[in-house]
């Protein structure tokens, strides 16, 4: 193990990436992200953008649920808030894209803060139920506040335009979404190297001792709600630019379960876990679609079974990981790495 570092090198030991191996991995990842568009396929670019949007959102939920221990059943509703915010500001006032995204995050964060307020009185699963209630109420607002949300028909979203360049297609949008994703994921990683992030984990692990060391539970829970919703809001804003239309149907209750599943399957409470989970969960339906197409010669109706099979698989993944690998893909990845680090000298 890489412990017992010389005391002079605290700075290195406290670094974002603790070892050279990690730095190399990160470098490779960045290079991969920069080179990825060379594949030239519109389908893959769309998928890449969608995956990254889900990475942002999952990371947000991971901060709240995985790190702070507060289960949210309304995460998708915060994404919707972000999407509507972007649609509203860009559509009405033609405000700049980056400003819209910040607004999307900020509005979602503000609402997230409000939703967290009951944590003054209730905790654990009761709070989870409160988030469900909040999501239902938000859904009502989307449907009925027609002057702002467009009601049932929703809102169309203009093309994202930065410095006169129209990001109309996924391969262009990629260059907006990718840097934002990298920045937000690194920021989340930083968060847990410092006082604030540690306080979140403390609340998750043992709230009475968090209190005894002087952590205000309410303050940090609210902060976690706000940050998590900020991530969801930005992700929702990017989603709006990708799909160009937002309706009350865009983020159904099942989407919240999707993100919860991503957190669990990937590995709650680790940043890589959130990334793994989001990638994995986004790609499963695509994989199923491909399989269904491949099966058409034998089962002509294979595609109508797609949605139900996807639901079953999502559900089974949640259950299976909770029972057999509660630390998720991140833990499997860690074990594999350790195996190969020792290979071929493993005894």
């Amino acid at each position: 193990m890489r412990v017992g570092t010389a005391k002079e090198s605290y700075a290195a030991d406290e670094g974002l990436f603790k070892t050279d191996t990690q730095k190399v991995w990160f470098g490779l990842l960045l290079a991969g992200l920069v080179l990825f568009p060379l594949n030239g396929s519109n389908y893959w670019m769309f998928l890449a953008v969608l995956v990254m949007i889900n990475v942002i959102s999952t990371t947000g939920l991971n901060i709240l649920t995985g790190y702070t221990g507060q289960v949210s059943l309304g995460h998708a509703a915060f994404m919707a808030v972000g999407a509507y915010t972007v649609a509203f500001f860009d559509g009405r006032f033609d405000t700049p894209v980056l400003l819209n995204l910040v607004l999307a995050g900020a509005v979602a964060a503000g609402i997230g803060y409000l939703v967290g307020l009951p944590s003054l009185r209730i905790k654990g699963l009761y709070l989870a139920i409160a988030t469900l209630a909040a999501a239902v109420i938000l859904g009502f607002v989307f449907l009925n506040w027609t002057p702002v949300t467009g009601g049932l028909r929703g809102l169309n979203v203009p093309t994202a335009t930065i410095a006169g360049i129209e990001l109309a297609t996924p391969d262009r949008l990629y260059w907006l979404v990718m840097p934002i994703t990298v920045i937000m994921v690194l920021a989340a990683k930083n968060l847990f190297r410092s006082r604030v992030g540690r306080a979140f984990i403390a609340i998750r692990d043992r709230d009475i001792s968090a209190e005894i060391i002087g952590i205000s539970l309410l303050k940090y829970k609210l902060m976690s709600f706000a940050i998590s919703s900020f991530y969801a809001g930005v992700a929702g804003g990017l989603w709006a630019y990708l799909f160009r239309v937002v309706t009350p149907e865009s983020f159904p209750a099942l989407a919240s379960i999707f993100f919860l599943a991503a957190v669990i399957v990937g590995g709650a409470g680790t940043i890589v876990g959130g990334i793994f989970g989001a990638v994995f969960m986004t790609l499963i339906p695509e994989f199923l679609k491909l399989s269904a197409t491949a099966l058409v010669p034998w089962f002509p109706d294979a595609s109508i079974y797609l949605a139900p099979v996807r639901n079953i698989i999502f559900g089974l993944l949640i259950i299976g990981f909770l029972i057999f690998e509660p630390m998720g893909l991140a833990e499997m990845w860690r074990r594999t790495r350790r195996y190969f680090a020792l290979w071929p000298f493993r005894t």
Partner: protein, 284 residues
Amino acid sequence: MSPSHSAAPVRPPAARLDVENLSLQFGGVKALDGIDLHVEPGSITALIGPNGAGKTSAFNAISGFYRPKTGTVKLDGVDITQVPARDRAKLGLARTFQNIALFRGMTVLDNIKLGRHAHLTSGVFGAFLYWGKTRREEMELRAEIERDVIDFLELDHIRNVPVAILPYGLQKKVELARALAMRPRILMLDEPVAGMNREETEDMARAILDVRDEWGVTVLLVEHDMGMVMDISDHVCVLNFGRRIAAGSPTEVRNNPDVIKAYLGGSGDPRKAALDGAAMGEVA
């Protein structure tokens, strides 16, 4: 272990604790019934008593988890009875729990760092960037913890280990480390050596003495290990059924008939042996 430390930590002055007429009730159970407790600055004071006597309840009331029915808690003469638990950390009150309350998902180092939470100031934006003030603060924290706590308690070899996989004795020590990181002026330890073997017990006893001597911290401890209690404490206070039945020097308390009766009362209490063998545990 022979602690020969070069740099003693910055010492805030040891605190004095005065508890008067403290009562606490759970439904029909009178957990505490008007107890008084005076802890001199820089002393090691032990709170003892048979199981269910109310020792932990007293700790919980002093640290602010339970609102007492009557009575006051004063720190250096200032009434803190109404101060919320989390604000007592800043006043210099630190404690450990009878059933270890560590942050199980974190490493030893992060657990200890959390002890200093209330003394740090960086906020959420600094945290995202990990730059400037936040970075400086975190680096200083690390250096300070390494010097004052990790070296002191000899936790170097486990600093990056998740606490959940540590053996019980080490977990108790990490909890002490976290409390020390709070730079306490009074340290409250609830059964610091429960479940430890002889060697670990002696190690812990020495650590407690060192903390008092080198850090100049007042120590209030609850413990069933009479050998250790009699050896290291300056003052002993005995509770039974929520009442204080005796207080004084270890020798006075050991010979107090009420105390002997309390420990013998519960027909063949195993604690009798502990009380008898009190002088055996040669520590320090």
